[in-house]
Amino acid sequence: MENEIKGQQDRKKYVRALYSKFGASILEEKWQTQDQVTLTVKLNTLPEIVEEAYYGQGGWLSNVIGNDERSINGHFAVYYVLSIEAEKDPNKNLWLTIKALVPADKPEFPSVTPRVPAAVWYEREVRDMFGLEPVGLPDARRLVLPDDWPDNLYPLRKDAMDYRFRPDPVAEEENYQFIGVEGEGIVEVPLGPLHITSDEPGHFRLYVDGEYIVDADYRLFYVHRGMEKLAENRMDYDQVNFLAERICGICGYAHSVAYASAVETANGIEVPPRAQYIRTILLELERLHSHLLNLGLAAHLVGFDAGFMHFFRVREKAMQMAEILTGSRKSYGMNLIGGVRRDILKEQRDQVLRLIAELRSELDDLLDMLVNTPNFISRTQGVGRLDPKVARDFSPVGPNIRGSGYTRDTRADHPYGAYDRVSWNVISKNGCDVLSRLLVRAEELYESFKIIERCLDAMPPGPVLVEGFTYKPGTYALGYVEAPRGEDVHWVMTGNKQKVYRWRSRASTYNNWPSLRYMFRGNTVSDAPLIVASIDPCYSCTERVTVVDVRKKKAKTIQYQELEQYCRERKYSPLKN
């Protein structure tokens, strides 16, 4: 208790510091919880204040939310969510949200990106979805909306369209402008855009000089599903749990927990301790299968296919654990607002503990083999460098940033569930390369084993679900989870009619893409798939590759298999003929 009060004072310190610098510009201070505060500021001072919180107070950009609040206060609004974690003490860390109202008749706001590069994707998305123009944003291209989407139709405005409406396409062809890199001998290599083996398309364009990548650009969001619009129009609070789980086929449960905890926090619903433990156990279970998948894929991409098979063989045990505990191998479907739907019984607990012991001893062998495979270290060390300075500017998350010397981990920085009730360690490496990211994942597996075992032992008895609460319209809060790929941050504003007014979900990979461009630079084409895989972006390979030789104005399509083979064997470059 004493700690909490002291922590509260420490947290207020950040807000006071902002007051002393920008006093007259801060219009309102509102605390959602002990560690979540929203400051409403004057629109023209938004960039300065976000910059001060980001660089001056050691913040990281965790989310930006656009919101159509015309029916509430006659304005649009933008919320910049920063995680202030300079002191690395969960009792002092703070979620600081800087909010600014944007006039409905003049939908413009000053862009933060020139001061804080991490905001670039968020601001492009706010422009696409709400038609709010970030004045001064250097990148004028669309991010989320497809090229054939009509101008002046902003899907997330409340009066824009029915959620089922699909406007007629206004363009025949893709007209997305990739960045132009010109120079003697530079060849443009598009990777993609469709038929990715794991169902997620993305279009990369590599600018290469000989074998070396000088720059990269990419186009994503080919499979935007309009989930936020769907949730606010058709689903009730409990149903969105299941929708949130389908944001990702790998780390869906993390989204479900992030959404549920945002709603719970906004409405002051206390989740029973036993449910907190169960959520924690399942989140770690999800990390097990996700990290094992990524390690297997890494083995595959460096040409160690037998290792790949073995990783997938042992990963099966993680899938079995999920089936035992939730009744489903994937998409656990365990969350409702207020807790979880199934308890863990003694028999299930014993089965899971046994499987963990088996998995641990298998993993010891496999990791030893992987690391001692002759070309594994040489293919991954020093490759795909994420410079700590670049990382600081773009707020990447998860093993991606922990491989570059930072110890950012939402589980430790902003504990939720039972993470502050069992002991475990944050894993971090200093190599900044593909190898470091893989080793972070490998060691995290052991931490996950520990967390699951300790949670199963320490789980208190009691109910797993509370009911009988009421939802308060117009309240909002953040929900956050450290998913296998990094933090997922959700923001929910409750509405009337038993529906969310606005649900903003930000997946971890969203924060990892913008810095990928810098990770490509200086590496060879054959390393590109490996680098993409090292951020574990929910998909890791592209089906086909087109090579454009700018000087000869000639295009050529290479099958994905060829590039993959080249990545693995590094012989017979497909670029040569």
Partner: protein, 189 residues
Amino acid sequence: MLRLLKKALEVGEATVEYPFKPIEVAQGFRGKPAYDFSRCIGCGACATACPPNAITMDCDLERGIKSWNINYGRCIFCGRCEEVCPTGAIVLSKEFELAVIKKEDMYCRAELKLCRCIFCGEYFETFREIEYVREILEQVGLTKKSSESRVQFLKVCPKCRRHKVARIAALSNWHVDLNGRREENGTRS
């Protein structure tokens, strides 16, 4: 390399012979929702809870039919229907092999008869749901005599019920004495 070979020998065959041999699933596996028509009262709780709208209800007021429909192609096997069903008419089975040759085989439809309102004669609710409510009233200990009139009241549609109550309130002259007891002084229609 040798260790890898040793490992491979140790592990032996990692795959199973599915689909040539059946595969076991865990206790509590969430598979295809099995529907028991004899228990369904057509209350629609499952349709309200179903996140992907796999379960839907329709009313045909011409024919006096309420129908329950499921599209297994939309089902996400969350089991919310099982959770909210008051009569246990839906239980998630262990069946997971749902591929079909014909699309129609993805659907299942059940029809329940609707009861007419004894005042206006409109169809409004299934016989089974009225029966379900009657059983509950009986279980909570209503005497047979009073429940008989209540059973009749159950067959009044919500619209007529509102009219009826409003009329009673308007025509009768209800007073509430200081002890909170209600006295009836007027004539009742």
